[in-house]
């Protein structure tokens, strides 16, 4: 019996790609200067995660442990390249905005991580659901980090969201601090590391409070936070 609630909780919070597994940091820190860019990378990653999980799960019967890693990498790279080409040809406007992020996904070890840890041992439906939840968790992390850096760094929120999502989303674009001169450090990668440290500390505090609040039987007291 597949525990979908457990998969959802893992993907969104307990085992979050960024804040718990600490995966995908390279593309993460590179693009989260603004919340909009974070959302762009998040959406592209979500799509690839779901498709990669689906394909790996389909092939799980014939892949042997000895050669699984190169096979996974091959499959993921092929999927990413295909997505890139298809978007360029048929969703060209979207590709102009997201195209920058797609090559970054190949270097995203979160995808390989999910293929290895989940999709290669689970039935197709569970694998797709896991990809979806992990992807949404990744989007949440990216947008939170992007928003925090953008507010501190340039005093705006969701700048240029209309370029990514279309003119209907112009209302998202906020200038929170008018005439703000900007705090360049936060926009650059070091600011990404700093802000991520703060956000992770925040998650740990929340987790610690939650554990403290719920009295548990001694047997499960060893449920340490995943690192």
């Amino acid at each position: 019996m597949i525990d979908y609630a457990r998969i959802a909780r893992d993907g969104l919070w307990d085992n979050n790609v960024v804040f718990a597994q600490l995966l995908a940091l390279c593309p993460l820190l590179a693009v989260t200067g603004t919340a909009t860019n974070g959302l762009g990378l998040g959406l592209a990653s979500l799509f690839v995660l779901v498709v990669a999980n689906l394909v790996v799960s389909l092939f799980r019967g014939i892949i042997t442990p000895e050669v699984r890693i190169p096979v996974f990498i091959l499959l993921i790279a092929a999927i990413v390249t295909l997505v890139d080409m298809m978007m360029n040809a048929w969703l060209h406007e979207l590709h102009k905005v997201l195209g920058l992020f797609i090559p970054l996904i190949v270097t995203n070890c979160a995808i390989l991580g999910r293929a290895e840890a989940f999709a290669s041992r689970q039935p197709v439906r569970a694998a797709i659901f896991d990809g979806l939840m992990m992807g949404i968790g990744f989007i949440i992390a990216l947008v939170t980090l992007g928003a925090a850096r953008e507010i501190v760094g340039s005093g705006t929120l969701f700048a240029n969201a209309a370029l990514l999502l279309g003119d209907g989303f112009r209302f998202l674009e906020l200038t929170l601090i008018p005439d703000y001169r900007g705090f360049l450090l936060m926009i650059l990668p070091p600011g990404g590391f700093l802000m991520m440290g703060f956000l992770m500390a925040g998650k740990r505090i929340i987790d610690a409070r939650r554990v403290a609040r719920t009295p548990r039987p001694l047997a499960s007291a060893s449920a340490a936070p995943a690192t």
Partner: protein
């Protein structure tokens, strides 16, 4: 791979691993080849549309009766490399030219396309590709700031050479708060393009007979 199922023994042979890896590689390559064949034409069309769209922004529609993408001219550019020049013609006379110029920005090259009328006045400049810091250097994009339009109507003599710089360097063009290198690069690139046009003007404006173009 222990799922409680009995794994057939052939799976552990080296030959199976090699076949699996080879098979997967073949499968992936075949899919990519198919994908490439399916999308190549469409991607080339989209690229041409993009080029046309940016050309139409730097060379106004009423200045030409030809298709700018028809028979572009190749000349030696400012950096010695071949440069494609798109020429707008009205009744066989060259009315405007458009070509790419490149500047060295904060994070790599900034590629711009600029359009000039036959007297060397700037019709428009558009940034095609750049990797400047989002939020600081990307104000060179017209969607984010109208800075790039300040070049319109300028020429090599308006302002003079000293004026072709950002304000910080004693010129007349604004820099952005927190970013000087990016606008400096664009100003220099546009100035370089103007100088190059002046030096090669006669050749660029000479109308080419249709037959010669077709023979190329």
């Amino acid at each position: 791979m222990t799922k409680g199922v009995l794994v057939p023994s052939y799976r552990s042979r080296v030959a199976y691993q090699a076949m699996l890896l080879g098979g997967m590689a073949t499968l992936a390559s075949a899919t990519l080849v198919l994908g490439d064949l399916e999308t190549r034409g469409a991607i080339a069309e989209r690229r041409a549309e993009d080029l046309k769209a940016s050309l139409s922004q730097v060379v106004p529609e009423q200045l030409h009766d030809n298709d700018l993408l028809d028979a572009p001219l190749t000349a030696e550019g400012p950096d010695g490399k071949p440069l494609t020049v798109y020429r707008a013609e009205t009744k066989g006379q060259v009315s405007a030219v458009a070509f790419e110029v490149v500047g060295q920005g904060y994070a790599g090259t900034i590629t711009c396309i600029m359009g000039l009328d036959r007297n060397g006045n700037v019709l428009g400049v558009r940034v095609i590709a750049h990797a400047e810091t989002p939020g600081l250097g990307d104000k060179i994009e017209p969607a984010k700031d109208d800075w790039i339009n300040r070049f319109n109507g300028r020429s090599l003599t308006d302002p003079d050479t000293a004026g072709w710089a950002v304000k910080k360097d004693g010129g007349i063009f604004d820099q952005f708060s927190g970013a000087t290198i990016t606008p400096r690069a664009v100003v220099n690139a546009v100035h370089g393009g103007l100088t190059w046009f002046e030096a090669n003007r006669a050749r660029l404006l000479q109308p080419e007979p249709i037959t010669e173009v077709a023979a190329q």
